[in-house]
């Protein structure tokens, strides 16, 4: 596997990285864990003239911090760090659980949260969790920072709200209230999600007060299954309710198709895994 030639840059500060992005514009690509970008380059599907390697920024962007109501996760945190973080495990477990479903141990040791989100693979795992957790994404540009809600971040096939010249530096995850679960159907070849459903449910005395459902793998971008959420909120939770609410998991969505899963099968899996995620999340509430 032989990528086209490229210039390699190894900035040691965020400003330096932003400067390189400003200088090279569309010719530059950011390299974090590299698990998506490097294979694409080896197949010559991606041919950046400049590769800006962010590993020198680990000191600044690799952290998982308690900020009261929010857990701040640096964009260069690895899947493994997120999966095994005690802080996330106790206060925002959906993200930690989801990270454990990504790739294998080798991938999780190198792949990063920021890289995965910014790449926006429609079959990536994190979008489901980020959406259900109602996390915010912090983008740093030359002109300053801005925060984008998860629902606004994923815009289509490998497309996000990040502007050219911006770097995703942090994900801000609200401390989770209620129970959560991530349910995934693995593609047997790639290990990516044919469908992945993340659910958070909060409630007392059997009544659902709040429900958030994020779905990945089914559409061209991760999405919130708001019809499912509405069907549950204010209702008394039951297995039947979860099942009927889950029927809406792919409502209004144009499902992906590939040789392994047609649109109707994918939609079916979305419904099944939504029901499973709702049920498991409620049990943990």
């Amino acid at each position: 596997m032989y990528p086209e030639s490229f210039s390699y840059h190894a900035p040691s500060t965020l400003d330096e990285a932003l400067g390189l992005l400003a200088q090279h514009g569309d010719d530059a690509k950011l390299l974090a864990g590299g698990h998506s970008l490097l294979p694409a380059m080896k197949l010559r599907l991606s041919t950046p003239a400049h590769l800006v390697d962010l590993k020198g920024l680990r000191g600044q962007l690799q952290y998982i911090r308690d900020e009261g109501d929010t857990i701040a996760v640096g964009a260069l945190s690895t899947h493994h760090q997120i999966h095994t973080s005690e802080l996330l495990g106790s206060r925002a477990p959906l993200l930690a659980e989801t990270a454990g479903h990504i790739g294998d141990m080798q991938v999780r040791n190198v792949g990063t949260l920021g890289g995965s989100l910014a790449h926006a693979d429609p079959a990536g795992d994190f979008p489901a969790a980020i959406l259900a957790a109602e996390a915010d994404l912090v983008l740093q540009g030359a002109g300053g920072q801005r925060t984008v809600a998860a629902t606004d971040f994923f815009q289509g096939f490998f497309e996000t709200a990040a502007e050219p010249g911006e770097i995703l530096i942090e994900v801000r995850v609200p401390v989770q209230k209620g129970g959560s679960s991530y349910q995934k159907f693995y593609h047997p070849a790639s290990g990516y999600a044919i469908c992945g459903v993340a659910a958070v449910i909060e409630g007392t005395n059997g009544t659902v007060s709040r429900c958030r459902v994020g779905v990945t793998g089914v559409s061209d971008a991760g999405y919130r299954a708001t019809a499912v959420e509405r069907a549950l909120e204010g209702q008394t939770f039951s297995a039947e309710l979860a099942a009927s609410a889950a029927e809406q998991a792919a409502a209004g969505v144009d499902p992906l198709e590939d040789p392994f899963a047609s649109a109707d099968y994918r939609s079916h899996l979305a419904r099944v895994h939504t029901r499973r995620a709702l049920t498991a999340a409620w049990e943990r509430n």
Binding site: M1, F260, S262, Y265
Partner: protein, 788 residues
């Protein structure tokens, strides 16, 4: 010998170098002045090549040459030959680089040679090819339809061959008299071989001696040399040395002659520099010969007592766009001849049509024809048992060839020399606890869980093969094997074998055989293979032939060495030969073990010849050319247990029991490895693997993102055992085990899934039994099931 090496689970001698990264694969080799090749491949399944403009590529500094098809024609280089001929076989020209027209996605259109591989890839992207796309066809059934796009003008209707075996009239009569018949329409899907090491070739040309050296990924370097020298390049055979060093798996895909080998040889001569090419994984998907791909209709007949009386089979077999080396043999003599399975099936008729389509060529892939036959026979046996309401194990048992019926002449050419099928079935049923399973299955169904158990009582004909027999069937090759055993003055024993190890562990298993024959340690033995400059000749490794044929050659040669050593010993001990016995590495006078001479001393004396028999030549070496008198017929029963999720259609393989009979085991550890790997590949076909083409020939599963191979997480821990029925006709009594797991397992797993789905009224589904296919079948069947 009290306790020999044969039969011991000796750790493999070759593994330390593989495990420590010190093996030497083709891509590890680099020669001074070497340049690199990259291939320009057709993105279209069928297209005229109107023009090729290499100027931009050649303008790139460091690009040495761009080679097109006409260059090879002008150099007098022929197309790739076919090594197995059938009556009426169409053999269209198979150029190494397309001339004028490309016939499958991935066919080579030009080759770029440059100072490094990255540059070669850059330049390949700059070669401008003007294609005129043409209508194309991928599926075998579509390719036979009137008006289908034609792959080769000299193969009208896309028919490559029409072949049959068995007695049609007698079989038709059996069906006319049958008490019950069942039919089955199935697709045995196309697969990619997926050797872990991609193919690679490195060619060197010595302008002074006009000798070529080709380092290449080959399962049979002498076959490569023969075809490349005599048929393709038209050079004297001794001017080409083929070296196949450490090789990371073949599964058949490295038997064949490939275009890239021709290209690097031509380029090395033209440029007078070594030329190297290593496949990218994406090229492996598009250029390694693929496997299986049958569309079959079959019928089975039984009499009033439920004994099978007739089998009729009609198969369309995909050949791809070109014939590779042994392609015509696979769906014919390696397929139709296996239709009797383990059963006393008096009437069989099998027709096969070989079909060209605009796809990658199809040839032998682990099992080669025999998995396809076994899948059909074992699937239709299950289907009949289900139809008759008989237990599938007992239905098989009732129809087994009895152990007193051997040798057993089948109606499809083969004569099974030995077998005893019931003990393997019984042991497998015992291991899986069959009765208990059926109770558990019934209980699980009451809970809405769907467990299934599938049997596969397989036979294979391997140990290829009696040369005269295969010659009469169309092989353009002999199928004997050679060995040369050479003892050095120090007593070190070099064994040169025409078999080739690319994962099989010959360096250990053959050394175990020799060590026992000579009573020496394994360290005193070196197994040499894979180099036409060292090994006198050989037909290579495929068809589970290395132990049965290659091993027989080794043991025959080493016994000749021992016989000569005995003559020398008799001289040194001043005793008569017949008064000597060989014990623990020394000849001694019977009854007086202190009068002895060691093998090492004999070896030294054979070379010094100072104190030596007058009528004996010095030296201590012998060769043997072993031609088997029959195939060997390993058999066994495999049982798979699965659970199917009715909600997602996902299948989990819960247990896998394999009882194989490959005769005595030379090395149980290696046998277990072969069985495990084989089961994984067969289970992979049953559940996961599928090389998918669009109807127009675009290839949709060209990477591991889309092509699913089984991983550890998909498989249970296998439970294996053996019965032991030696082959009556080879000196070791051994039979092959390299393909058995693959031959047996796809049917066992598929039968298990169908068994699990039987409450839904589902009687057959094609492989792969992917979750989507199973889910859809359940969904479509449920109204019918609910109506029950």
């Amino acid at each position: 010998m009290d306790k020999g090496f044969v039969g011991q689970a000796v750790k493999r001698k070759e593994d330390p170098r593989f495990l420590t990264g010190t093996g030497s694969y083709v891509d590890d080799l680099n020669l001074a002045g070497q340049v690199h090749a990259a291939m320009v491949r057709s993105p279209f399944a069928h297209a005229d090549i109107r023009s090729i403009d290499p100027s931009k590529a050649l303008a790139l500094p460091g690009v040495v040459a761009v080679i097109v098809g006409q260059d090879l024609v002008d150099a007098g280089i022929n197309g790739l030959p076919v090594g197995w001929l059938l009556d009426g076989l169409k053999t269209p020209d198979h150029p190494s680089i397309a001339v004028g027209r490309a016939r499958h996605v991935g066919e080579i259109v030009a080759a770029v040679i440059a100072e490094d591989r990255y540059l070669a890839e850059d330049a390949a992207g700059l070669v401008e090819v003007d294609y005129g796309t043409l209508p194309s066809v991928a599926d075998v059934s579509d390719a036979l339809k009137p008006g289908a796009p034609t792959v080769h003008d000299d193969a009208p209707g896309n028919i490559c061959f029409e072949w049959s075996i068995g007695d049609k009239d007698a079989t038709d009569a059996a069906f006319a008299e049958a008490a019950q018949t069942v039919s089955l329409t199935l697709r045995n899907q196309r697969l990619v071989a997926n050797a872990i090491e991609p193919r690679a070739s490195l060619a060197q040309f010595n302008a002074g001696t006009e000798e070529y050296t080709l380092y290449t990924t080959s399962q049979n370097p002498h076959v490569h040399r023969l075809l490349l020298a005599a048929f393709i390049l038209g050079i004297p055979e001794h001017k080409l040395r083929v070296i196949s060093p450490d090789i990371g798996g073949g599964f058949g895909s490295k038997i064949f002659n490939y275009p890239e080998e021709v290209i690097v040889l031509h380029a090395a001569r033209k440029l007078k520099r070594p030329v190297k090419w290593t496949a990218k994984r994406s090229e492996s998907f598009l250029s390694d010969s693929q496997g299986r791909d049958h569309a079959t209709e079959a019928e089975l007949a039984v009499d009033g007592s439920g004994r099978v009386t007739g089998l009729r089979v009609k198969t369309l077999a995909a050949m791809g766009a070109y014939l590779t080396t042994f392609a015509p043999a696979v769906p014919t003599y390696l397929y139709g001849t296996l239709m009797s399975g383990q059963y006393a099936l008096p009437n069989i008729y099998c027709e096969v049509t070989g079909v060209f389509s605009h796809t990658v060529p199809v040839d032998a892939y682990r099992g080669a024809g025999r998995p396809e036959a076994t899948f059909l026979v074992e699937r239709i046996m299950d289907r009949m048992a289900q139809t008759l309401g008989e237990d599938p194990a007992e239905f098989r048992r009732k129809n087994f060839i009895g152990k007193d019926q051997f040798p057993y002449q089948t109606p499809v050419a083969l004569s099974y020399d030995s077998g005893d099928y019931e003990p393997a079935l019984d042991r497998a049923l015992e291991m899986v606890d069959y009765r208990q399973f059926r109770q558990d299955q019934a209980e699980a169904r009451r809970q809405g869980r769907y467990l299934g158990l599938g049997l596969s009582s397989y036979i294979e004909a391997c140990g290829l093969a009696p040369s005269a027999v295969v010659g009469s069937l169309g092989a353009q090759a002999g199928q004997w094997e050679s060995s040369l055993v050479r003892v050095a003055p120090t007593g070190i024993i070099e064994v040169f074998t025409g078999s080739h190890s690319h994962g099989q562990g010959h360096e250990t298993a053959f050394a175990q055989i020799v060590a026992d024959e000579l009573g020496v340690e394994l360290d005193a033995i070196e197994i040499v293979h894979g180099d036409t400059g060292k090994v006198p000749f050989g037909w290579g490794t495929y068809g589970s032939r290395s132990a049965a044929v290659g091993g027989s050659a080794v043991v025959t040669a080493v016994r000749k060495v021992r016989d000569k050593a005995q003559k020398i010993a008799a001289h040194l001990l001043e005793a008569r030969e017949e008064d000597l016995e060989y014990v623990s590495g020394q000849f001694q006078v019977k009854g007086s073990p202190d009068q002895a001479v060691s093998f090492g001393d004999i070896a030294l004396q054979a070379h010094l010849a100072h104190n030596y028999p007058e009528d004996l030549e010095p030296g201590l070496e012998a060769s043997a050319f072993y031609d088997p008198s029959n195939f060997v017929y390993p058999f066994g029963t495999h049982i798979a247990v699965v659970e199917v999720s009715p909600e997602t259609g996902a299948t989990k393989l819960l247990r896998y029991v394999a009882v194989d009979d490959c005769g005595p085991l030379i090395n149980p550890l290696i046998v277990a490895g072969q069985v495990h790997g084989g089961i994984a590949q067969g289970a992979g076909q049953a559940l996961l693997e599928h090389a998918v083409y669009e109807s127009d020939g675009q290839f949709l599963t060209g990477s591991y993102l889309d092509y699913a191979v089984p991983r550890a997480e998909h498989l249970p821990s296998f439970e294996t055992d053996h019965t032991f029925t030696p082959s009556p006709h080879n000196p070791l009594g051994v039979k092959g085990i390299g393909e058995a797991g693959t031959i047996a397992s796809s049917a066992a797993v598929a039968n298990a899934v169908i068994d699990a789905l039987s409450p839904f009224g589902i009687t057959h589904l094609d492989m792969p039994l992917s979750s989507q296919r199973v889910w859809r079948a359940i969904r479509d069947a449920q109204p019918a099931a609910a109506a029950d």
